[in-house]
Symmetry: C2
DNA sequence: ACTTTTGGACTGACCAGTCAGTTCAAAAGA
DNA sequence: TCTTTTGAACTGACTGGTCAGTCCAAAAGT
């Protein structure tokens, strides 16, 4: 059975993955189903504990199809990573640019990126979880893929920080890479906790709390 | 070494680590070796990808010994988690109390806890990595252990925040649980990035950068 | 016509957990 | 003092099961 027309696809929507130049529409749809199945299972159980048979079954596809579309289990996973982080960076960059066009400050840009990050995690919690679980591992096959992909995402934040320093909006003494990592961590962990332990809260609510922290409006009475 | 003659196997559970009521010194040493071997391997490869044979080999012990000391691979892992987080929470609490005794403000207490967190991660990077990788997973055997252990750690931060609000030092509008999670995330991710990508930097250096962020000294020149 | 998917049997490696047997230092006995 | 016994701790070969990856002829889709 095919997916109903127009039904949204999990990590999908990004056309023409760089890894697959000449895929037919049908093939692309199968890949999407496999991504969708794999992302949840791996987020729940981890890569090694997830079997190819499970992925195929959840995707409603034969095992042979998995190997027709991906060279191996690891390759499937790597392409999933690239795909997901591509979406995230695009979204972050877009948020920063939009703020710039509207004449906002760099703090506004950071705030917009915090929100973009929350929106992403809200939409793809399983992907985020899986990404965090793998990011700092060593000795794994997809190590280099992860490094590249991490740098892409963090670089967007670093760029905004550097621009803020250049424009005199941020102190020249801030440590750009480390501050960027800390900001990403702040959003990542707060959002994962939100999704895991207080999923009923609204995005606006969470965003407001993080904004306050970001803008140093923590000290002093209300 | 066998138990000394007549040494009482006290029923009162105040003695020894909670996980090992009546461990001999030899046994305790073996367990320690197994923890050390397991923590690195699992941090590098993940739980499922790490075999019991590997753990035994790295610990310099026969496979049977693993099962003599722990009921299963999962149980070994759970006790490892409890052990590690116990160390962390003790350290965080100690930092907060020390600051309080010295008459520091609540921001000082947070700052001291940030440093304690960094010291911990500096000393046990593998444990931290493994912890982060497992924390938000669902459907796993040690799920409940993780929840308990997470709450212990975050609660220390939450307590300081609440005290700060009560004392009028922090705004009454801050969202305590979420802000605590965000602060933990800030330190966690910054520290893991430090260890993974710039391990040559000093702890003081990293701490200074995070302090600046914590105290909102990011905006403005110099 | 050509591409993609199916289904499911098969292989070979790998691995968690078991268990009969070994080790050895301290306790008991002589 | 010397010998024997005890049993906790440890060993490692073995078992039963699992899983990634292969193969391929037939069917379905475009």
């Amino acid at each position: 059975m095919n997916r109903p027309a127009g039904a949204p696809v999990t990590i999908g929507a990004m056309e023409r993955s760089s890894t697959t130049p000449g895929g037919s529409a049908r093939r692309e749809a199968t890949r999407q189903k496999l991504y969708e199945a794999a992302v949840t299972l791996i987020a729940e159980q981890g890569f090694s504990a997830t079997t190819v048979d499970e992925i195929a079954e959840r995707a409603g596809v034969a095992k042979g199809t998995v190997y027709y579309n991906f060279a191996s289990k690891s390759v499937l996973f790597e392409e999933l990573l690239r795909h997901g982080v591509g979406l995230l960076t695009a979204s972050l960059r877009e948020a920063a640019e939009r703020t710039a066009l509207e004449g906002g400050s760099k703090v506004d840009a950071l705030d917009a990126m915090v929100r973009a990050g929350l929106v992403f995690i809200d939409r793809y919690p399983a992907f985020t979880q899986l990404y965090v679980a793998e990011l700092w591992r060593t000795n794994r096959a997809w190590q280099s893929t992860l490094m590249v992909v991490r740098q892409q995402a963090v670089a967007v934040v670093e760029d905004v920080l550097r621009e803020g320093v250049a424009a005199g909006e941020f102190s020249e003494e801030i440590d750009v890479p480390l501050t960027a990592a800390a900001l990403v961590g702040m959003v990542l962990v707060a959002a994962l906790d939100w999704k895991s332990f207080q999923p009923e809260r609204s995005l606006d609510d969470v965003h407001a709390a993080l904004s306050r922290l970001l803008q140093g409006r923590v000290s002093g009475r209300g």
